[in-house]
């Protein structure tokens, strides 16, 4: 009895440590995704997160009042700048939509299924795990908002992580720089696939890329879609350093595009649709149009011919579908093609469809799938490499007055 009293503290210490080690061992053995969340976690999260949520709300409200009502310096200049940007982007959008249409047609030809982010939910980051070794954050949306485990979390800049645990009104998001995370990724230009992992130091590395491959620094890293969580083509980051790694693989360091240390608002991808691309018209005719576009075309009409065109005609070489007048089938006017009759004969050659056309189509479709994934959501589109398809296709010939792009007027035309 005396011994027990004398070593009471030590005995309690050993008892408490033993209980915790035992509990730890049980957790390690039983860890799986289907295991329900432990009550102690729910208590802890329910204790801490309401205060975090309140503080974040106060912080945002104060900031909004300040920025929206008092601190308006430079707003006019910013407004002017944004208007100019909108004009630039409108022009860019015309080109992009044409590329997107083209990509969709090619995808349809290949029976290519693509994933679209069809629904997202904005969430506020309210807290972190508080540990350098557990790189995760809490968001203010939970089960009651329809959040489920394994949903992808992104920002306009790039991917952030995935939902790991869901509580009533909050969720725990595992960041991509945590050592237990893994994301299927591929390199944009070389199309090499690997697994993106975090390191204990908080860095992000791309693993499982063979050491005999050449990976340039600065190359973009995109999601490959292979993990079943992130749709294909979302921007992950850029390669910063490539070094020989252990065994046969390269050690590729990646700088995440999203600033994971300063997260404030994120988007939770709540719905991803997988569907096959549907062409606007029959596939064969569209393929012809595409191939025809890549082949040498008829030279431009003389300038005097253009002068005789109707008002509203665009200048030669300038593709302006917005100003084109449907139904006016005069050459020299940038307008939708009626049937593509001028270009059809050139395209329907077996050599063209079996030879140069198919690889080009395959390559573009692959690239386009990268950009197509985020098309369902404006923010989701941000991380995608929208410029890639344009870079991959061979240079277009000089624009001719006939614009072989799908337009509403062209859809009704017979083929």
């Amino acid at each position: 009895m005396d011994v027990l009293g004398r070593y009471r503290n030590l005995i309690v210490l050993v008892g408490v440590l033993f209980a915790q080690v035992l509990g730890l061992a049980v957790q390690v053995k039983r860890t799986n995704d289907s295991e329900p969340t432990r009550l102690i976690r729910i208590w802890a999260v329910d204790t801490v997160t309401p205060l975090e949520r309140t503080l974040v709300w106060v912080q945002i409200s104060t900031r909004n009042v300040w920025h929206n009502y008092f601190y308006l310096r430079g707003v006019r200049a910013e407004n002017r700048s944004l208007k100019a940007q909108i004009e630039r982007m409108s022009l860019e959008q015309v080109r992009m939509s044409q590329d997107a249409d083209q990509a969709r047609r090619l995808q349809a030809l290949l029976a290519f299924k693509e994933q679209f982010i069809s629904q997202t939910m904005a969430a506020q980051v309210i807290g972190s795990s508080g540990s350098e070794l557990s790189r995760s954050v809490y968001i203010d949306k939970g089960e009651r908002d329809g959040i489920k485990p394994d949903m992808a979390v992104i920002t306009a800049d790039g991917i952030v992580g995935k939902v790991l645990r869901v509580y009533g009104s909050t969720s725990l998001v595992l960041l991509i720089d945590d050592q237990t995370s893994g994301v299927g990724a591929l390199l944009d230009k070389t199309r090499l696939q690997g697994i993106l992992r975090g390191t204990p130091a908080g860095e992000v590395v791309l693993e499982k890329v063979m050491s005999d491959e050449t990976v340039p620094a600065g190359e973009m890293v995109l999601t490959s879609g292979g993990d079943g969580i992130f749709p294909k083509g979302l921007l992950v980051g850029r390669v910063t350093k490539v070094a020989p790694g252990s065994e046969l693989f390269l050690n590729i360091r990646v700088r995440p595009a999203a600033d994971l240390s300063r997260l404030e608002e994120v988007l939770v991808v709540t719905k991803i649709d997988e569907r096959q691309a549907e062409p606007d018209q029959t596939g064969a005719a569209r393929a012809i149009d595409i191939l025809a576009e890549r082949l040498p075309t008829v030279p431009s009409k003389p300038e005097n011919a253009l002068k005789t065109d109707a008002p509203g005609a665009a200048a030669p070489g300038v593709a302006t579908p917005g100003v084109a007048t449907p139904g006016v089938a005069k050459p020299g006017v940038a307008k939708p093609p009626t049937t593509g009759s001028e270009v059809k004969p050139k395209a329907v050659t077996p050599e063209a469809s079996a030879g140069s056309g198919a690889p080009a189509a395959r390559k573009t479709a692959s690239s386009a799938s990268s950009s197509g994934t985020g098309s369902g959501t404006s923010s989701g589109t941000g991380p995608t490499a929208t410029g890639t398809p344009a870079a991959k296709v061979p240079p277009k010939p000089v624009k001719v007055p006939v614009e072989p792009k799908p337009q509403p007027a062209a859809e009704d035309s017979p083929h």
Binding site: N9, L13, V21, Q27, S128, S129, G130, S131, V137, P200
Partner: protein, 172 residues
């Protein structure tokens, strides 16, 4: 800097009110989860550990120290995605050690507190490293310079935390 050996009768034992006992650890865990989002450099600090050491050295009761450490550590674990017990075990050891040492040493002076905090920070990290790597199988990296620098940073903050705790502790 004064580090003196004192007998059990010479040292003063303090207690904390129930609200302080509950709210201070909760606040520490809350701040540890909240501040790194706004101030990234704050992730180098371990505020719950400093509170554990502060409580343990003031109470000078190994039993209270280990239970406080265990409670704070498990609370901290619950917010991470790792198994519960990693911080729990580490802080239990620190709570027991700090209170045991608090009986032997006079830890009322800033210098003593500074050294004590560095020492227990390293102990905490060593225990955490061993458990995380050996039992849970996490990939861990160990760097003595990093640990000592982090320990020094925590010790500086610890002096401030202990001064705040001095204000709420009550003489028994």
């Amino acid at each position: 800097m004064v580090i003196t050996y004192t007998s059990g009768e010479q040292v003063e034992v303090y207690r904390f009110s129930i609200p302080a006992t509950v709210l201070i650890p909760l606040t520490a865990v809350f701040l540890q989860a909240f501040l790194p989002l706004r101030f990234h450099f704050f992730s180098i600090f371990d505020l719950p550990l400093l509170v554990t050491i502060g409580f343990a050295t003031a109470r000078r009761s190994p039993l209270a120290g280990l239970l406080t450490g265990s409670f704070i550590g498990i609370l901290q674990d619950a917010l991470t995605h790792h198994p519960i017990g990693l911080y729990g075990i580490s802080k239990t050891v620190v709570g027991f050690g700090a209170s045991s040492l608090g009986i032997k040493l006079d830890v009322e002076h800033a210098g003593a507190r500074f050294l004590l905090t560095i020492f227990f920070y390293v102990v905490h990290e060593v225990v955490y490293f061993l458990i995380a790597r050996g039992l849970v199988g996490l990939r861990m990296e160990w760097s003595w310079p990093h640990e000592f620098l982090s320990g020094a940073a925590n010790a500086v903050l610890g002096i401030l935390v202990f001064m705040l705790l001095d204000r709420v502790k009550q003489r028994t």
